[in-house]
Structures are given as structure tokens and as C-alpha cells.
């Protein structure tokens, strides 16, 4: 990674370090300690693994650029604009789903969306966008427009045993309230970096996790029926929250509780 990008990376990660409620409960000295941990983020190991997997199954960076019909130079900004509508898939897809398509094209059995191999490989591809500003365009075509609307609806719909929606716990006016010992973070205010710092190493899971996978964990605890990875609703949720992070610099991998 170029030095310039690496420095910018640290600054962005520092300001967006999203230990749930780092704005509220952590002391300055504690936060400094967790920030130092970024220097040796275990996710670096997984991303190195992802790079090898990409080389083996997808022809590396060059193979991915060719698959999208763009030059390797344009790849970083292009990756920073996912999820996207891709003609060959006839639907809006995430980076992981696009890679599944590429694996199939290369006559390999695609990794399951929930597999650690897919987390590692898609995380590596997303690091190519580090330093770029998150640039999803939800007005690019009718498909992504629909996905945005569906995503917002999914976020706001109360469901499940407790009648909760994502917004019940993550809206701007409840931010800071403590639930199960953790202050609730804001996910939807403009420029909140959430989507730009995932995939991330989750300390409580000791593994690299993606944003949709994180949503599933949260849904389970909130007694909401878990939405499957790759489903229209889950992709739509990712579109919605990525749009809310639009303009923030991509800084991956993150480090989270």
C-alpha cells in the first residue's frame, strides 16, 4: 500500500473508530490503547489470505478489473461505489456476489457468502478502495434506486417479537443510550463512517466479519428474523447504509468490539 494512502488510512480510522459508543463511554487513555491495536490488526492476516485466494480463483487484481471491463487504475474508485447494478447479474450486487460470479466464470465452485474464505477475499478486494471516497450512486439506474428505497424501508420497518426496527435503536435521537452495557451508535446520520470501516475484525468473534454479517448478529439478538446474506433486502440494507456513508474515505479493515 502506498505510504500516502497508509497515513490517510490511519487518520480516517482514528476519527471513525467505531467501538460502539467510543464517543460516550471510553476514557481517553483506554481509547488510545485500542487505537494502538490498529497497528497490528489481526485482519491484516485474513486480508493477506484473501489476496492469495483472489490470485488463485479470480486471476488477482487484473482478473477482477477485466471482469468489470475497466482498467486496473480505475479499480479502486469502482470498488468504492459498490453495491452496484451489474447487467450480467440483472440485479444490484455486493462485491462478494460479484466475486461469486467471477469464480463461476473461471469454472470454480463459488465460495458461500457466509464462508470465511469469502469474507477474506472480498475484504482484500475492498482494501483496493482504501483512500477513495465512498461513492455509491443511488440514482445511477432504476435498480439501485429501488434498492435504496427497499433498504430504507427495511431499516425502518418494525418487526419481530419486540416490534423493533433498526431505527428503534440506531436513530440519531436515541444515540448514546446504553443497551446491554454498550452505548448505541448512530448509523444513519449523513457522513457517519460506519459502512466505510467494514469489513472489520470483531474482537468478540476473533474473526473478520462483513457489514451484512454484523446486521445478522444484531437481528438475532433483537429477536428479528435474520435476513439471508445476498437476499434483495440484505443487499438493499447495505445500499442504504453505504449511501449514508457517502463521501467518507474508505478505511479497511476496521477493528470493532
Amino acid at each position: 500500500m502506498k505510504t500516502g494512502i497508509k497515513i490517510a488510512l490511519s487518520i480516517t480510522l482514528l476519527s471513525s473508530l467505531s467501538f460502539a459508543g467510543e464517543q460516550f463511554a471510553m476514557s481517553d487513555s483506554d481509547r488510545a490503547m485500542y487505537t494502538d491495536m490498529l497497528e497490528n490488526n489481526p485482519a491484516d492476516l485474513m486480508i493477506s489470505n484473501g489476496e492469495e485466494l483472489l490470485e488463485e480463483y479470480c486471476g488477482g487484481d487484473a482478473g477482477v478489473a477485466a471482469f468489470f471491463n475497466i482498467s486496473e487504475d480505475d479499480l479502486p474508485a469502482y470498488i468504492a461505489g459498490f453495491p452496484r447494478y451489474l447487467k450480467e447479474f440483472k440485479q444490484v450486487v455486493t462485491v462478494s456476489q460479484a466475486l461469486q460470479g467471477l469464480m463461476s466464470k473461471n469454472t470454480h465452485k463459488p465460495f458461500k457468502l457466509k464462508s470465511s474464505d469469502m469474507f477474506d477475499m472480498s475484504a482484500y478486494v475492498k482494501t483496493l478502495a482504501n483512500g477513495e471516497k465512498s461513492n455509491i450512486d443511488v440514482n445511477a439506474d432504476k435498480y439501485i434506486k429501488e434498492a435504496f428505497v427497499l433498504g430504507e424501508k427495511t431499516y425502518m420497518t418494525a418487526r419481530g417479537g419486540r416490534g423493533l426496527s433498526c431505527n428503534s435503536c440506531h436513530s440519531a435521537d436515541i444515540v448514546g443510550a446504553v443497551l446491554r452495557t454498550q452505548p448505541l451508535p448512530d448509523l444513519t446520520s449523513k457522513g457517519v463512517a460506519v459502512a466505510a470501516t467494514w469489513p472489520a475484525y470483531r474482537m468478540t468473534k476473533s474473526s473478520l466479519r462483513t457489514l451484512p454479517r454484523r446486521f445478522q448478529g444484531c437481528m438475532k439478538n433483537a429477536l428479528l428474523k435474520v435476513i439471508p446474506l445476498g437476499s434483495p433486502e440484505m443487499v438493499a440494507l447495505e445500499v442504504y447504509l453505504t449511501h449514508e456513508a457517502k463521501g467518507t474515505e474508505v478505511a479497511i479493515p476496521g477493528l470493532k468490539r
Binding site: A20, A25, M37, V178, L179, Q216, C218
Partner: protein, 155 residues
């Protein structure tokens, strides 16, 4: 905002609710690993019974409140010239209530240049983390800090 403050206080007071920690307390675990060792037994094994002096020469950095018990950062720094005649021989990191109180024993040499060690450890719950240091002249010094381990959150 009043409501927010109330919730904040509630959250901090309710810290350490019971979910499965990544490592068990010595008193709770029915499964005894062959590495089970209490804090005092560990200290005696390391020092051979010699006196240990609490010393401010050791800078022990652990969080006051750990975000989670599976990954707790620990950094130990000791002011030492690290010459052949005067260096830090070993840094032992201990956790007072883990079933195995020993976390790691680091044996340094003057070739390290600085007396420092940093890692991440598992803590089974709120307890004291201790840096027990052996100097080249045979002296033992130590520093401890209590770490509150919160086990909570959604997902």
C-alpha cells in the same frame, strides 16, 4: 439529556452481565485444564519465594474498562539501559483470576535494546493484571492494575 445520562449510568452499573467469556474463572470452571495454576502459586514458581517490590519503574498499560474479555491489550515498559550488566531478564504477565494465572513469560536479552513487551490477552472477568519483572541482578519488581471486563452488547 436526562434520559441519556440515566441510561449511561444504568449501563455502567450493569457491566459484567453473564454471557460466555472466552476464558473461565478459576473458581467457576469444573473442567480443570492441566495448566490450572493460581496467582500465588504462579508468583512463587517464578520468584522461588523471593521478595517482590512494587515499582513505579514499570509502566503497565491495560484498559481501565476492557471493551470485551477476548482481546485485552497489555503493554509493559521498563526503564532499563539493557546493557550486559544491567538489563531486564524477564517480563511475566499474570491475570489474578484466570484459571491459569500465567499469560506469558518473556525472556529478553540486551540485544532487545529496550525493555518492552506488548500483546493481547483473554480475561475471564474483572480482575487484576500484573507485570512481574526479573532484573539481571536477580531482583523482582512488579506493577498491577485492575481491569473491568464488560460482557454485553448485541450481536
Amino acid at each position: 439529556m436526562q434520559r441519556r445520562d440515566f441510561f449511561k449510568k444504568l449501563g455502567l452499573v450493569a457491566a459484567a452481565s453473564a454471557l460466555t467469556p472466552a476464558i473461565s474463572f478459576a473458581s467457576e470452571t469444573k473442567v480443570v485444564s492441566k495448566n490450572t495454576m493460581s496467582y500465588q502459586t504462579a508468583v512463587d514458581a517464578i520468584t522461588g519465594g523471593k521478595t517482590v517490590t512494587v515499582s513505579s519503574k514499570i509502566k503497565l498499560k491495560v484498559p481501565e474498562i476492557a471493551e470485551n474479555g477476548a482481546v485485552v491489550p497489555v503493554t509493559v515498559n521498563i526503564d532499563s539501559p539493557m546493557t550486559e550488566n544491567n538489563y531486564v531478564k524477564a517480563i511475566h504477565i499474570l491475570a489474578s483470576h484466570n484459571f491459569n494465572a500465567r499469560s506469558i513469560d518473556v525472556y529478553l536479552t540486551p540485544a532487545n535494546g529496550k525493555a518492552m513487551f506488548s500483546t493481547r490477552i483473554k480475561l475471564g472477568g474483572t480482575q487484576d493484571v500484573t507485570a512481574l519483572v526479573e532484573l539481571s541482578n536477580g531482583d523482582f519488581i512488579s506493577a498491577s492494575q485492575n481491569v473491568k471486563v464488560t460482557i454485553g452488547g448485541c450481536g
